[in-house]
Assembly symmetry: C3
Homo-oligomer: 323 residues x 3
């Protein structure tokens, strides 16, 4: 759907290219777009630290439409909107509602946009955000569509790398854990391809990074390795991006027992790491990073969560033309 | 319960007659009251289009108490309150809560009114809104009580007719679909009786408009017809108000198969309609209006949704004495 | 966790001792602390009665984290935050969410505090609030942790006694009903120990006040009696604090039938009570106070609910340094 806001774009607001647009996929972003969003996110951080909130989105309403529960993402978007002075229609548990019973997503979205100025959508079906955006005149932000995309997660991950290390170019980034099914790993890798990085993919053999991603990396000339043991990379990495290795993924428990300790981040492991590096995790974690690591200044995962709020503030402000 | 606000009614605020009052039934409204609410709703539209929101209800809190899910109505009231500068206590899924377990509706409402300034109530039992209003000192707005009333839906329907055609008197209005069980059809017909309209009731034989409604129409002298086929009225109607014909209502599937195509609104049907008319639907729709009609300028159902927000803004402002 | 706000406490804000602190248990409160909170609560009442809301907590966000439903408490905290100009992230039904699945409470709380300024926690497990507070840097307010503590309920109960009678010292307070399992009775008794009161514990034999509470009362020299029949105390009490006697607690229904009428508050009983006294109940009630008593000016239970909002406003303002 041609977004109606575009018809009245003042010249100065078109420059960033986000005003009135949907945020559906990491594929929408180039280095310039990322630099813009990260710059706005940094301004959001300064504002929150100094004033708590602003009135930038005063009078604006976000319809926070969650077809499946996700407390973390939902709360982050609510906080983002509220800290910008906007208001929220929280719509959770919509699966139990008469609206969803039999009503198509396009109709639900076109109804909600008569009440709201922007729609954040979480939906279990791949492609649902694009479908919603096709029918909506107001901006739609994809907050996760099944095993499809979750672009704001990838943006906050990349933003965290930049904030923790001060740069992205030149870094050595290790992805650890379930690299086969991990949506966050795939999306972050897509964004990292835009920078000069070196990637280390550390996983059990049956949870290796998909081949198509490797082909893409080769195509753009990003050096990468595939390894099994986190100890082989810990000394050199700038970023250790940890994800969960789920026991349930293993048909062979012997295989699981053999590798499981390769993927536990604890103080002993961290003693081998560089002094300036960052441990990241999309959370929730279930044992793969020990609590004893939490007080380590390199433990960045809760800062990562906070960055999620800043990134979502930046996106909300940008698509509503107020960045 | 004598509403406490009434005891201190300034003369200028009593004129509209809504300050401090409950909104329980369409029977409360006469042409003068409707004209007042519609006038305020139009002002709300202007305000939203120009500024997004106002601070008319600054400092006021709405308890949005939904004993059964209704995303559309709930979201509409939340947006209405938020666009007026008020705040909301969203209470959904109350059926699972200890408050509802064993606690009477009067006690729940009397508790909530100690926190809030106005209560919107959705409840599965007929008469529940009147019961709540009897005990509450603060205004109660009925957002649907089972197969009872849903007055704000009827108001937004009538308001949409006026907005789309510029008038109500003199129109030919067709109601289409399940006229036997359709609560929205019954309530809208009650309001239309106050105007000089002609009604066309188009339904399968087993889903005809109830006889008591016909008797009321005869009593006040409103001309009406009962028909089976939408094609017999499409050329002449100013309003085509479509509701769902549910297959489940038919014990005889042969009967269903015979009539089902009489009630599908598609571009072919619309090619026979007047240039200036409006298609309405309370939504959700399930196939009775084809998507291909959505871009037709006469398709008014999403504008109808938006009018719901304006009507609810007008009602909230009126009962809180701020219209 | 050392609360970070403490590191920058201005001298004038440390005086009350609540800034940046958690509210976990009634044991935290002495008479001076209670006097302070009650003074602030009275100011909140004046403010609400005159203006509806304030902007004291403008820019602040409350994460209202409810692991089990409690409409009354949840709504009260939401209203409290909203009437102070703050905003709320409402998190209910978190038990269905992926955040709670497998994620520890400490991680959930540490994530939410990156979005919010204060966390209100309702959780079914005893000790959960203390656990959350241990890990959180932002203030945590316990809104009930299983059969553990529910300090804001005890505070609003004591505040109501003071508001209804003008004082606490010198009063005769009767607790009626299930004194064995009633968490509110236990917590209120703990607070009353700080004052010069006389206590009457009225219960069936198998629902008597626990012995350890009696020992504590003896230790501090608070006179008390244990009785079975409300009629033996009704003439002399200043406060009648009624709780539910649940039939399910009785293994012997004959015993239940014998005592059940001892615990019904109705107009006949109230005709024997003093003219200046107050009937309180934590609500919900299920028959133990008849509706006919509701219009009695001594019926204080809905005023008690409203006091809950004022107390929670006072606590939120105090822990955020804005009281």
């Amino acid at each position: 759907m041609q977004k109606i806001q575009n018809t009245a774009l003042p010249a100065d607001q078109t420059q960033n290219g986000f005003f009135g647009q949907d945020i559906l996929s990491v594929d929408q972003f180039d280095r310039q777009g990322l630099a813009y969003i990260f710059h706005v996110a940094e301004e959001m951080r300064s504002m929150v630290e100094r004033f708590g909130s602003a009135d930038l989105l005063q009078g604006k309403i976000l319809a926070n439409l969650f077809y499946e529960p996700s407390t973390r993402t939902s709360s982050s978007f609510i906080a983002a909107m509220e800290r910008l002075g906007g208001k929220v229609i929280p719509i959770h548990g919509v699966q139990y509602s008469s609206v969803s019973k039999g009503e198509s997503l396009p109709d639900t979205v076109r109804t909600l946009e008569t009440y709201a100025d922007v729609i954040v959508l979480r939906h279990p079906d791949v492609g649902s955000a694009a479908l919603a955006a096709h029918y909506a005149k107001k901006p739609v932000i994809n907050a996760g569509d099944g095993i499809g995309e979750h672009p704001t997660q990838a943006l906050l991950d990349l933003f965290t790398i930049k904030e923790e290390l001060g740069t992205i170019d030149g870094l050595r980034v290790a992805m650890v854990g379930d690299l086969k099914y991990g949506r966050t790993v795939h999306s972050l890798t897509k964004l990292l391809k835009l920078y000069n990085v070196t990637l280390e993919f550390v996983s059990p053999p049956m949870l290796r990074i998909p081949n198509n991603i490797c082909l893409e990396l080769k195509h753009v000339g990003i050096p990468y390795r595939e390894l099994e043991n986190i100890h082989d990379v810990i000394k050199d990495v700038d970023i250790l991006y940890v994800t969960r290795v789920q026991k349930e993924r293993f048909s062979d428990l012997v295989a699981y027992e053999k590798v499981k300790n390769y993927y536990i981040v604890d103080p002993a492991l961290m003693s081998q790491a560089k002094g300036k590096m960052a441990i990241m995790h999309p959370l929730p974690r279930v044992g793969e990073i020990s609590y004893a690591v939490d007080e380590d200044p390199r433990a960045a995962y809760f800062r990562q969560m906070k960055n999620g709020m800043y990134i979502r503030m930046a996106l909300l402000a940008a698509v509503l033309g107020k960045a």
